[in-house]
Symmetry: C2
Subunit: 460 residues, 2 copies
């Protein structure tokens, strides 16, 4: 144990995790199984393998094996941009004049700009191992699409991305990054799929939606020989891959004798939060620690804090299986929050179960306050954070200020998932004083809840 | 010495350099002194201190002290984003199927996106130490302006950036990054200065130029109490600060027993190249190695390869001192190359002298070939490089392919100065097959040479 903690802790290559940690193996109350939306019976391997790669279906259904070895080719890819630094936020502590010790795990030092790459390379790898030609996916803000493009370029796999049309037009630079990595990027809705043509016929001026893009990407996968569909969040397999974040963090903290009191992450679909907390939560489930885990979600899309715990569609197109989760209803339309990655109606079923069982807290933060925290953070810590990540910053700052009040020197860890270089429109709106907040009314929420399927056993 | 070189070498905090290395101290033929453009006499401390901070003038004029201690506050700031990784390009080597061992020092893992921050924080620090209120500068592509904004935000110093008007309009995101860091960004030419008003009166539709922006920034500094002007390249003080790149690289290489045969950097004003090669060149000057140093410059702005070695104006506005350097003439207008950071008519007088004395080679590379190399690099190494940095990639790839021909396993080191996240317009042009090359004719060059001042002792 070093006498003084450095600004940044980088693990050595040989200290990097060799396996992913499957938190579900240590959960007494397992997340409920995915259901076939037609039969309401648990989906089978055979049903899922038409859409997803075989090995990924196995990982999705595996809630018993604690450690899943990371294949060598993925380990090699990880070495190109990992380990990511665990940063001691000395400057932020000084700025806040808090006795708290603040750490953040920074996942933004790669071209995709976020943690998404951790799962993208895993999913692309298994597609290649299966001998497939390529993968399809959707992307909204573009971080997931960029990550998948990078992984596919490295592995020599075809990559087709359906990008929500308004993002395609408003974020041309994201689109160009994907093209530079060789991906075929199609604005959605498009005339390349049945579902796209149907939507265009009905709404010729449609700007698209994530739900529509998912439906197009799934259709493109199942109608093209040698393709499968991949998804960047929500699924348990994605949380599994993202456990590399938490494993690295824990190794680095153990090395320096650091024990967190509070662990914070922003929560959209739950992949970064689930990955960051995994090994710490695993110990908590075994009674080995009493860490507080906090999910920070946007006030405009409060799935954990104001949603219901029920089986619901994962996508607005209702083509995917039903998942038991905290949800606002697949028809809930969140306001145009700049944190596109957090505008999801549901939440990982793993995190939903943990929240339901009282192992995790959740809170909402408002957009303008989030950007205030983001700007302050950027000025003292140097890194310009993504709007999504800034939700965790805001919650961490609030906890650090609470420590200042109480005089407690707590150790706070948060996940800084990515950078905001492609989100400058959001910062411009903030810099110009034009940013607004939106909190849905109970009536807004009720409309969403009304779209959740009702069937025996799905009372809420 | 480790048996296998890791993908990335990060120094420990305590291994980071504590001083900058002043290469001029080891040069037998010192760079010629800056001259007062009116008298053609060497500029004095008193003449320079009206424009630049006192301590920076001392550093500019100091060609004898080998080691300049880095103040603690700058060391602390460096710890926020340094050490930068020295990367072994295993994937690029495999792609090229070359026996060469390729390394690059990556300076892009900070929000400014480049090495510019190394000097920005130093210059801002000395301004603050002198009790000044703020600094002024110009920026073209925006990397320097961003870096200075970040440093000033950290130190609590006012920052006024004159941004070339066409960049201000074409790169709104760069502008917003600067604003997020609290800088005042003014499109140049502007009505805030005499020189700006004069240009606007004559050319109301002017898109601006770097020369004009420099003139405005200098005027703003000398006409506002408590302000000084700072510059991001060309000056010897900037190369001094950038020596941190080379010092870290050499420490990392020494640690693993790596000895480079070839060191390559892109060359605009010369700051990254001068910084990267400094400690290696210092040893070469003392006869301790026989490394080949290669400056890669754009074919569209070939100051070393096709310029003349003469005293010339550093800026098109002709308000700065004269420097002895390889120059195309301050009136030379380079074609609209996407590598804005390399569109400079001159070259650091330190590098110019070394090139003149045969210690360094130079070569030109063409834009389209540069982007081909950049795209290939991005796909195999993951990092999306800046157009400027990609000039070094192209030269390194050519050297690695030469090794493949000859069967030699040379060790090649190059500087990867930054990322291209704000340069996607350039990539778009490349992706769409619309990129062109431009090589100036001898007649184009003659026009530039005609603007170089003629006076006794300045024959060329």
């Amino acid at each position: 144990m070093a006498s003084k903690i450095p600004y940044k802790i980088y693990l050595h290559e040989e200290e990097m995790p060799k396996y992913w940690y499957n938190l579900r193996a240590d959960m007494k109350n397992k997340p409920a199984p995915l259901l076939n939306p037609a039969t309401h019976q648990p989906v089978t391997f055979d049903e899922l393998k038409a859409v997803f790669c075989d090995e990924l279906v196995r990982q999705e259904l595996n809630d018993t094996d604690r450690e899943i070895p990371i294949p060598q080719e993925i380990l090699d890819f990880y070495k190109m941009y990992r380990p990511s630094p665990l940063v001691r936020a000395y400057c932020l502590e000084k700025k806040l004049n808090t006795p708290a010790k603040i750490y953040y795990k920074f996942e933004g030092n790669n071209t995709s700009g976020s943690h998404k790459l951790n799962s993208a390379v895993a999913q692309a790898y298994y597609a290649k191992e299966q001998g497939l030609k390529g993968v399809t996916t959707e992307t909204g803000a573009g971080q997931w699409g960029t990550a998948l493009s990078m992984a596919c370029a490295y592995l020599g796999l075809d990559c087709r991305v359906y990008m929500v049309k308004c993002s395609y037009e408003q974020k041309p630079f994201r689109r160009e990054v994907m093209r530079t990595y060789g991906a075929q990027v199609t604005p959605s809705p498009s005339d390349t799929t049945e579902v796209g043509r149907r939507i265009l016929a009905e709404f010729p001026d449609s700007n698209g939606s994530l739900g529509c893009a998912i439906s197009e990407a799934v259709e493109a996968a199942v109608t093209h020989e040698g393709y499968r569909y991949v998804l960047g969040s929500v699924l348990s397999q994605v949380l599994l891959h993202q456990s590399v974040i938490g494993l690295e963090t824990k190794t680095a903290m153990d090395k320096y004798g650091i024990v967190p009191d509070i662990v914070i992450g922003c929560a959209g679909g739950g992949s970064n939060l689930g990955g960051l907390i995994a090994p710490f939560m695993g110990e908590k489930l075994q009674g080995k620690n009493d860490i507080r885990f906090i999910a920070a979600e946007p006030a405009s899309c409060p799935s954990l804090t104001r949603g219901v715990f029920a089986y619901d569609y994962c996508d607005t197109g209702k083509v995917c299986p039903l998942a038991k989760m905290y949800t606002l209803g697949s028809g809930f339309m969140p306001a145009a929050n700049h944190a596109g990655g957090l505008r999801y109606h549901g939440m990982s079923s793993v995190l939903s179960q943990l929240y339901h069982d009282g192992y995790m807290e959740a809170r909402t933060v408002e957009q303008t306050e989030v950007f205030k925290a983001a700007e302050m953070f950027a000025r003292v810590e140097g890194i310009l954070p993504a709007p999504e990540s800034s939700h965790a910053i805001k919650a961490a700052v609030d906890e650090a200020l609470a420590c200042k009040e109480s005089g407690e020197a707590k150790t706070i860890l948060f996940g800084l998932t990515g950078t905001g270089y492609f989100d400058m429109k959001a910062y411009e709106s903030f810099n110009d004083g034009k940013m607004t907040d939106f909190i849905p009314t109970d009536a807004d929420l009720k409309k969403g809840f009304d779209g959740i399927p009702r069937f025996p056993g799905n009372e809420f």
